[in-house]
Amino acid sequence: MDQKPKILIVDDSAFNQEMLSEILEEQYEIIKADNGFEGLQVVEKDPHGISLILLDYYMPHMNGFEFLKIMKQRGWLSQIPIIMITAESDGEFIDQAYGYGIFDFIVRPFNVSIVRHRVENTILAHAKQKRLQYLVQKQVKEQGKQSDMLINILSHIVEFRNEESGQHVLNVRQITKVLLKKLTEIDPQLKLDNETIEQIALASSLHDVGKITVPSKILNKPSRLDPEEFEQIKKHAKNGYDILNKVPNYRNEPLMIVSKQIARWHHERFDGSGYPDGLKGSEIPISAQVVAIADVYDALTMERVYKKAFPPQKAIDMILNGECGCFNPLLLQVLKDPTVQKELKEIVQMAKMEVISDRREFLDLCTDPILTPSLRDDFAAEALDLISKRDQISYTFYSEKTQEIRFEISLDPMFLTISSSMAKKYEIPSSILDPQHDPLLLEKLGKENIDRILHEIECSKGKEDDIDFNFSTEHGGEPHWWRIILHPLYHEKDPKDVRGYLGLLLDIHSQKMTHEMLERSASIDELTGLLNKNYTQIQVKKRLEEADEMMEYAIAILDLDFFKNANDEYGHAFGDEVLAYLAKRIQGSIRKLDIAGRIGGDEFLIMLQYPGNLETIMDRIFHTISSGSYKGFPISISMGVASTEYIKRNFDDLFNVADFMLYEAKRSGRGCLKIYKGE
């Protein structure tokens, strides 16, 4: 660990770079960058490895402030302190620079001693600040964790008796949080700060604490409860309140007050129809109102001994329809919000990730760059190394095997970074400033694709969804297919303000080609090249669904007369030849837009839209097909036709009637056409 701390000098003048290195190189390892962009590349490679940046302001391409903006967007500014070097002494400039997050200034002309001291102090002060931050965070986390833990134990005891997994308590807590957050957004009068919301959410864990007093054979009864049993269950609300009320010492703690409200009144309903006290409207504390909805929602979406799980949307509809009692209209409005619905849906899935998020939290702690070695030990630096190395390996492995290109875009100014292995593979730099004007990128992706991406970014503003679409690039004159997914990243302070995107570029070409090929081969009859039976049906149904009400359509079914003879006399190979020949004639008798398919051995279907007289048209088609011979075998067909003039616009009906008419044609001596014209 006796490595020298690293200092990055970003300055376009080699002279200035050298002067600063001369002053600092004894104590520090110096990395030089000729402009902001080069500086960003250095930081991007190893944001934790740099202890300080010395930054010039006037530089070509990107000035010092633009550099600071990107540093901030990427979250590097909080990692690395920056000292700006300048001859400017104008107050506005200085304020602006501090506003962009610089740590300090060094003013020209340099005084060597001042430079040395300021650099040293800045590195120490920054480390100290980080360390303090960490200690405070750690303490807060510890305290929070302990009360959390006790409440969890308590609520789990209740759930354990309830023969439930403990998931319910966790879910209600999260749902409560989601609902409260949205509620404070839409109701300006309700002033709940984050801390209060957390508190109510935590208190919600104890909503069913009174169930400890209900006999477990009633709690876990799989069949319907009789009225007396139901009365027993109902007592849990009041009993929960009493239990909490008897806890000595903490009576006036806000957490205790909220817990009691929730325990007692989470079965009250807005119209006064709930229990135990029949409170109405705003008599019910908002905490209990919210937990009541959270409780109902989770109960609906989870499987219980007495019921199956409802899908999330169904559960929400049931609550909105009043099937679970009457709730505050404002809360129902919250429930209608699409982002709330999405979050509620995710809560169940998120609960499964619990184990993983624990590890994340651990990582968060470990990656806090603390300089003091003794603290490092605290964080099990070794474990961190192992985990991050493993993450690194798996990351590289998956991205190589799946051929994904991972990247990140910062906006304003636009700055793109690409995973290095992929950048190497596609021969592009791993970081690009102003990517929309980069000649190499324009060449590789094509201007229209870059414009499309920018357009989609523009259109997605204000929406939370990922941007996801396919596009093709030209590769040796042929299109090559890609899928791009962009996930918006928001400013910490303003969640509506997108600061950039995480991106994934997938090579879907072979997948798409295989898919298209499969679809084609799955839809075509190999022998005749017409549509196969299955696909004929799909296409006809689709055509009927999209059909213009004013247009008339007809379905014709035909088969080859005496086909059995061809097979018997000349063999199956000849039979196949005849069928292929017939298919060609069918194809030649209809228009490109019409549908023709082989639906059985020697049975074919034609669907067409017709203007005017059906009989004339069908007659022409019939005679075009049914004439001449193939290698001495006479081509004669029987054909039945049904049309939407007389039959409902429905595949089965049209098909059955046409089939029946075919049968009629055969019965009346074959080689003829029968069209259905009503009874």
Partner: protein
């Protein structure tokens, strides 16, 4: 005997002032000598010829900072004037100021080369 003190007199600066900021004569001499190879003056000249405001400003600004650090007061004043003039837009007067700057620069180079 030509001393650093004499040199700074010719540069319009003060050896004592510089000596307060930079810790040793050795370092002062090293960077003065380095100044001879510094490309910012050449870049300034090229930019003025091409009327390239941005390049001219950046070069003048760099030159100004370097001169300031080395206590080369006369050239610093010229560079300062140029960078103020060209900070926002092209100013024809910049050409005149630059012409005045050329002899100041040459004098500075000669003063340094004598060390």
């Amino acid at each position: 005997m030509y001393t650093l003190k004499d040199c700074f007199k010719e540069l319009g600066g003060s050896y004592e002032e510089v000596r307060k900021r930079l810790p040793s004569d050795k370092m002062i001499v090293k960077f003065l000598k380095k100044f001879i190879d510094d490309p910012s003056f050449a870049s300034l000249q090229e930019a003025i010829q091409n009327k390239d405001r941005e390049q001219a400003f950046l070069a003048a600004h760099t030159l100004k900072g370097v001169c300031q650090n080395l206590g080369m007061h006369d050239l610093y004043m010229q560079a300062n004037q140029l960078s103020d003039l060209l900070r926002h837009e092209w100013d024809e007067q910049g050409v005149l100021v630059f012409e005045e700057t050329v002899p100041v620069y040459e004098r500075a180079i000669q003063a340094i080369e004598k060390i």
